[in-house]
């Protein structure tokens, strides 16, 4: 029996490698991509034409209890060379220290986590600030209710 095991264990391990084979056709078969509807708003801030994008889902709760929603900012090709940073916040920034959440990502699409007030009056605006490499600030606003997602609350 021991000899049989010693002789057969190599071949047995080779058979284990073949176990996934029956599942491969299903793995490679065409599957519909999961898609979540998105909300898009065009924004013009000075010379820059941007797009603010978010999933059409209500804000989530973070572990501190905060309401947070992720927004993407997309750029026209080439614009990113002039842009030092894009900041997003709810309400008009008080100072340059409080421009909002800095979007992070690639040359065409960057993301920012936006903390939202617990209670909304419906008149809040998202302020988007584009800072260029020479320090110039360009700002634009979008009504939050238009791009909040979910039930709009």
């Amino acid at each position: 029996m021991r000899n049989l095991w010693q002789r057969g264990k190599f071949h047995l391990s080779a058979l284990v490698v073949l176990v996934p084979l029956p599942f491969l056709p299903g793995y490679f078969a065409d599957q519909p991509e999961p898609s979540v509807p998105e909300l898009h708003r065009q924004v013009v801030a000075g010379p820059f034409r941007l797009e603010l994008v978010t999933e059409d889902q209500p804000p989530e709760r973070g572990i501190w209890g905060e309401r947070v929603k992720e927004y993407a900012v997309t750029f026209r090709p080439g614009d990113i060379d002039m842009i030092r940073g894009v900041f997003v916040r709810v309400g008009k920034p008080r100072t340059v220290r409080t421009l909002g959440a800095l979007a992070e990502g690639g040359a065409y699409r960057q993301y920012a986590d936006l903390i939202l007030p617990d209670k909304l009056s419906g008149s809040e605006e998202i302020w988007l600030t584009v800072e260029t490499w020479d320090g110039t600030l360009h700002q634009a606003t979008v009504p939050l209710r238009e791009i909040l997602g979910g039930s709009g609350q």
Binding site: W64, V68, G85, D113
Partner: protein, 103 residues
């Protein structure tokens, strides 16, 4: 690949965690009739000892230039005029809390 490097690689892979963006978070509350305690940290649950938390009046006068203590909190007397708390982790990583939300 020699053995120690291989072992370290395997251990590294097993204990690797996904890098995930996190943002600063801050909460403030009255702990008695006159004092406010603010707690700062990050959305991944980590604390932020030593980071800047300023108290600023509504006309932008800095009333208190503070830093969070080792327990990631800062306690200060509530100003007698309108103010907001600014938890400032760096440009683009700030949290503001307006005075009327501190109860």
């Amino acid at each position: 690949m020699n053995r120690p490097v291989m072992v370290l690689t395997v251990v590294g892979v097993l204990f690797a965690t996904a890098a995930e963006a996190h943002y600063p978070v801050c909460k403030c509350e009255m702990i008695d009739a006159v004092r406010v305690t603010c707690t700062g940290g990050f959305s991944d649950g980590s604390k932020a000892p030593g980071l800047v938390l300023d108290v600023i009046s509504s006309d932008e006068e800095v009333l208190l230039k503070g830093r969070l203590g080792s327990d990631s909190t800062l306690t200060f007397p509530r100003p007698d005029r309108d103010f907001y708390v600014l938890f400032d982790v760096g440009p683009g990583h700030t949290v503001e809390i307006d005075h009327h939300l501190i109860k």
